[in-house]
């Protein structure tokens, strides 16, 4: 299909998408860079002035930054651990001959389709409410003191909510990968005298290495920007206990109206995401060769 005519047409068809995405990437980012060097508050219009790297200094030395960076890392790390740690056994289980597997699959995948604001509010109220929530009732029935999740362990509560949303994703990807494991390979290993455990270690685990990497990278991209769950449950609090970088930038921009500092913070978030994206793009790119 390599005729000049088609090539020309191909380029014409590709350009709208490329141009749009290019503008979408470059213009706001350039503005963010520009704003980040200004003293610019929406509460004090007309007072914009160039301040160099002062905003970065302010943002990076703000105790809120360190706290939110830590929260971000704890949130991402814990959710990854939970989703993959539970996702592997769950995927293995669903890969077994199970009666009604399709229905179970539907139930397991469902949380992923629930919009973040709904899952956050349902968990916060119906499940985690310290008095009337279901968890409180379970705890009381078992003779324990109910946990006041959003006061005593707010970050953990957010982690649980987000992990619940992403567990289906990890499970589904790992299950898909498991099902693509060649049955003949398993049988060959069985003929070679490998028991279930060694089959798992020498066949399944190496086979899952790649999908696990993919899950880690993609989840990380999304988890770095968790926002709605915090927005509707804790509003970043109490104090800064559930403020992550995304929420911190939001609050600086749209609550404190400090455009300069928020822009500096936004760029910090871009840098962090890019580090992850770098690895993800390489993995996906390698896959493109095939």
């Amino acid at each position: 299909m390599a005729t000049r005519q088609t090539q020309l047409l191909a380029r014409a068809l590709l350009s709208p998408a490329v141009i749009l995405l290019f503008i979408w990437m470059i213009v706001p980012l350039a503005l963010t860079v520009y704003f980040s060097t200004l003293h610019y508050s929406l509460l004090d219009p007309g007072s914009e002035s160039f301040v160099g790297l002062e905003n970065f200094e302010y943002f990076l030395t703000d105790p809120a930054f360190l706290a939110s960076l830590q929260n971000t890392l704890v949130l991402v790390g814990s959710v990854l651990l939970l989703t993959i740690g539970l996702g592997i056994p769950l995927a293995l289980l669903l890969d077994q001959p199970v009666i009604g597997r399709n229905i179970i699959r539907l139930m397991v995948i469902a949380p992923f389709f629930v919009m973040p604001t709904v899952s956050a509010l349902v968990w916060k109220n119906l499940l985690m409410h310290p008095v009337s929530g279901l968890f409180a009732w379970i705890a009381t029935s078992l003779g324990m003191t109910p946990i006041d999740w959003f006061t005593d362990a707010p970050l953990l509560a957010v982690i649980f909510i987000v992990a619940w949303q992403w567990l289906p994703f990890a499970t589904l990807i790992l299950l898909t990968a498991l099902q693509s494991l060649d049955e003949e390979q398993k049988e060959a290993a069985e003929m070679d005298g490998a028991g279930p455990l060694s089959r798992f270690i020498y066949l399944t685990v190496p086979h899952l290495a790649r999908p696990i990497t993919v899950v880690i990278l993609i989840e990380t991209i999304f988890l770095l920007t968790v926002f709605a769950e915090i927005f509707v449950t804790t509003g970043g609090g109490p104090g800064l206990q559930t403020t992550n970088i995304a929420f911190l930038v939001y609050s600086q921009a749209l609550i404190q109206f400090d455009v300069g500092t928020a822009s500096a913070g936004g760029l910090v978030a871009v840098v962090i995401a890019n580090i992850v994206a770098f690895f993800l793009v390489r993995i996906v790119g390698r896959n493109l060769e095939a």
């Binding site: 998408a17 963010t32 397991v108 793009v281």
Partner: protein, 276 residues
């Protein structure tokens, strides 16, 4: 294929799998149940599981008190509109890259993917200000536009991987049969691509429907889709659990159904073809 499996093995796995599935699905089930309770029963301890007074009045209240349909329509327009526009831009682009690849095609694809990885907070400030200046805040147009751009890379990627699977031979055969490029698109490519187009459409409808960063930040009331509308229950209205549950059930039901239909394509779409 026919591996020997003992009955006990099946029984144990089945039991464990159903248990796990139930636990994971439970919050949704609990929410749906609560939506049929009265506010008092929804709040009651000990909770009642099935033997409560079933009522549908919450669904009526949600519509009466907060104009649920208005927000559902917003969601539909924003999610549907952004997806459709993204498809219109993406189909030619993906077609071009799949069937007339050049040396740079791979780089372009990866670059498109990388735009998806930019965290939205990185550009929240300029987008917010641009929208404010252009009067796009709290408008459906504004939301359609931003969600369209946000999902465009995924749409292009998904379509690209689907188009890639259509054998080039068949398109060349059409060309040999005297079809012009336009007719080739209409008679050969499109019918063969329909399954791929449909799943791309569905997955992006889901993503756009559930998008909760831009919708929360750029809409308040007039253009507020269901994500923003549900978020309004986080404050005082949060006390009305049954009503919250009814609104939530309505908000997720259509997407849950679409999602269940497109779950196979989900993996592929969300991993940019890295896992199939």
């Amino acid at each position: 294929m026919a591996r020997k499996v003992t009955g006990r093995h099946v029984a144990i796995s089945t039991l464990a799998a159903w248990l796990a599935g139930f636990v994971i699905f439970f919050p949704i089930l609990w929410m749906v149940l609560a939506s049929f309770k009265t506010e008092l029963e929804a709040f009651a301890t000990p909770p009642s599981f099935l033997f409560f007074h079933w009522t549908t009045e919450n669904y009526a209240t949600v519509q009466e008190r907060s104009d649920y349909l208005h927000h559902a329509l917003n969601s539909l327009i924003v999610a549907g509109g952004s997806t459709l526009i993204a498809m219109l831009i993406a189909i030619p682009a993906a077609w071009s890259m799949a069937f007339s690849p050049t040396k740079r095609t791979k780089d372009i694809l990866l670059w498109m993917l990388s735009t998806k990885m930019m965290p939205p907070v990185g550009v929240l400030v300029p987008i917010y200000l641009i929208y404010k200046n252009m009067g796009l805040l709290d408008t459906r147009t504004g939301l359609v536009f931003i969600l369209c751009l946000g999902n465009l890379p995924i749409v292009i990627w998904m379509l690209f991987t689907y188009f890639k699977e259509i054998p080039k031979d068949i398109l060349e055969a059409a060309r040999m049969d005297g079809a012009t490029i336009g007719r080739e698109l209409i008679y050969v490519l499109t019918p063969m691509a329909i399954p791929g187009l449909a799943s791309t459409l569905l997955l992006n409808l889901i993503l756009a429907w559930n998008e909760a960063f831009w919708t929360l930040n750029l809409s308040t009331l007039n253009a507020a889709p269901l994500t923003t509308f549900i978020a309004s229950y986080s404050s005082p209205e949060g006390l009305f659990w049954a009503r919250l549950s009814a609104a939530s059930t309505l908000a997720i039901a259509p997407i849950l159904i679409i999602g269940w239909f497109s779950q196979k394509q989900l993996v592929r779409g969300l991993t940019f073809g890295a896992v199939k």
